[in-house]
Amino acid sequence: MTTTLDKTVLDMTATDLRAVNTTLQAAAKAQANEAYVITNPRGSHAMACGLDGPLNVTIKGSTGYYCAGMNKEASVTVEGSAGPGVAENMMSGVVTIEGDASQYAGATGHGGLLNIKGNASSRCGISMKGIDIVVHGNIGHMSAFMAQKGNLVVLGDAGDALGDSLYEARLFVRGSVKSLGADCIEKEMRPEHIETLRELLEKAGADAKPEEFKRYGSARKLYNFNIDHADEY
């Protein structure tokens, strides 16, 4: 561990995962709002997970599974790409991925902003419960499956079965949608949606106009089981 005036550097060639997470979790809990830089992550799993307080973490390289899982309040930036389940079940704070994100990005997230500067693979935002996700590139198939709450913003294209079995999450896509999943429909973009989208794009530093997007949401036909809709399942 090297400490300079404005940041502490943790080199993972010399510091193991447990020590890194223990250090970060303690700093977050202390509400110190300090800056930490992790070097040589070498695709490690479960990095910077369970942070519970204001902290600024920069990871210099790509990460494995579940980076920044269950994050609360902290700001985590990956200067590389992220493996599956980045920011899963995130509660608050900001997680930024400078590269691409693998499957299940932001899965079951309750709050905060997940900002993916590259593309996101399949099942992005699966079962999301209030998180905001902005993907500057494209997203893969089955994204926002059973998504409950929150906003998924995609500046590029969406793959097959977008929003399958969607609940109340709002999906905004600028590019094409290969296909919509069961019970997901295009919806009117009202002024409040334009405003929400404008704020999210601004927060994510995305160069796009809200008016260029289409909104998708639940048709709410599958909310209560009806035998006449059995073909939808």
């Binding site: 494995g64 579940y66 599956p84 079951t108 079962s127 209030g130 059973m146 609940y167 909310y223 209560n224």
Partner: protein, 441 residues
């Protein structure tokens, strides 16, 4: 004129009145039957086993005088803080939503008085439950309803649910009438909609992924909490082996008699294996990996008596979990509500429409008026009493077999009454030294 003798009207075994009633119900509604509980069909069970007792070759312990220990420690493999229980009987996971807040409180009270743990379910951790449960296992389910790191950290153990005995491979459905404002709020869903509990986890797909998921949970909780993996009784040998490989501290194995809040009857009755058939393959997997007693095995699904507890332990389990029996102890299916069960088209002992939220006993409901019928203090005491009886019965049988700890019970203490039970439990058919499949016979 003399009447011609007639053969008595003959009911079909294949098309029994019960089967025909289901055909008529299906024809009228166009939808499968959904219900709560576990498999109701007769399957080989612990009743088909007997203890041999002490005799010339071994001597018994004196009842009421000589000590027979019942304590069990769960989570000794990796967790910094394993769970210490006074008795080898735990309360299985049941959700707030499926159960009322009073029922969850009663489970916590009863379990705590008896010195054991209770378990959350789908829908998150409630204050009633945490506040009244000295040891609380927090379930990590596919839906992740209410999942948050604060509750993970204030749990005493974490149970990753891969499957359950009533529906291995299936999810669940909590019907809209039970999705009140509180339930909906905890699950981040609109009030009144049918709420689907997913059948598989959203962010991992196999044991290799699960190993990493467990790493993440341990990192978030400082490696303190025992991690359980719960599987339904499908392929117990391989499921248990893979759970160990994924890093479990404890494996919870739930046979087909294990209950659910709501699932299709066809699923409950036709998928999975009887509890009795699951235990020996599970124990064999642990033994083959050198992990028996290192990774603890908790067995559930149809545990009703101290004899069931003792038999499960004798077959190699470290503890058992009860769900349906705990609800009955609280007051579920009590004859005092018979008139109301009849109004609902059911009868005492058969009431299983737990998903409809109209439970006369006030347990499987979110209706404020029905909920009031369950006094959590009195119900908690009933559960405590019942748990004590299970323990006393188990001790009685262990002493009779000459053991000073219930964990010293072993398969050699047992025989089987039927060929099926002998094959499943791998203990000799009564009066023989043989069981089907025994090598070398």
């Amino acid at each position: 004129m003399e009447k011609t003798p007639q053969t008595d009207p003959r009911q079909s075994w294949t098309f029994s009145n019960s089967i025909n009633s289901e055909i008529r119900r299906a024809a009228a509604t166009g939808i499968y039957d959904i219900r709560g509980g576990g498999a109701k069909r007769r399957v080989p069970h612990f009743d088909d086993l007997l203890f041999l007792g002490a005799s010339m070759s071994r001597y018994p312990l004196e009842g009421y005088r000589e000590k027979c220990e019942t304590s069990v420690t769960l989570g000794t493999r990796f967790a910094k803080k394993p769970i210490e229980l006074k008795i080898p009987v735990t309360i299985a996971g049941m959700s707030f939503g499926a159960l009322s807040g009073h029922a969850k409180e009663a489970l916590g009270r009863g379990a705590t008085m008896a010195g054991t743990s209770t378990t959350t379910g789908d829908g998150g951790m409630t204050e009633e439950e945490r506040g009244h449960s000295e040891k609380l296992v927090y379930q990590y389910l596919p839906s992740r309803y209410g999942m948050n790191p604060d509750d993970l950290r204030r749990a005493d153990a974490i149970e990753i649910v891969v499957g359950q005995g009533a529906k291995p491979g299936g999810g669940g459905m909590l019907l809209g009438q039970k999705i009140t404002e509180r339930v909906a709020g905890m699950r981040d869903l609109p009030v009144g909609i049918d709420q689907r509990s997913a059948c598989r986890h959203p962010d991992w797909t196999g044991p290799d992924d699960l190993e990493i998921k467990i790493l993440e949970i341990r990192e978030i909780t400082n490696w303190e909490k025992p991690i359980y993996i719960k599987v339904g009784g499908a392929r117990p040998y391989y499921d248990v082996a893979l759970a160990v490989k994924a890093g479990a501290d404890v494996v919870v194995l739930d046979g087909m008699q294990g209950g659910t809040a709501a699932t299709q009857d066809v699923f409950i009755e036709h998928v999975g294996q009887p509890t009795l058939a699951c235990i020996r393959p599970a124990v064999q997997a642990l033994q083959d990996l050198g992990m028996h007693r290192e990774v603890q095995l908790v067995v559930s699904g149809g545990i009703r008596t101290g004899a069931d507890v003792a038999k499960a332990l004798a077959l190699g389990a470290d503890a058992v979990a009860i769900g349906t029996a705990a609800l009955v102890a609280l007051g579920d299916n009590d004859p005092k509500w018979e008139a109301e069960y009849q109004k609902l088209g059911s009868t005492t002992g058969a009431y299983d429409d737990w998903h409809e939220g109209r439970d006369p006993a006030g347990i499987t409901t979110q209706d404020p008026e029905l909920m009031k019928r369950l006094d959590p203090l009195a119900a908690g005491r009933r559960l405590r009493n019942y748990l004590n009886v299970l323990t006393l019965e188990c001790q009685t049988l262990a002493r009779a077999c000459g053991h000073n700890h219930v964990h010293n019970l072993e398969p050699e203490d047992l025989c089987a009454l039927t060929m099926e039970a002998a094959a499943m439990a791998q203990v000799p058919l009564a009066g023989t030294n043989w069981y089907p499949g025994k090598p070398g016979f």
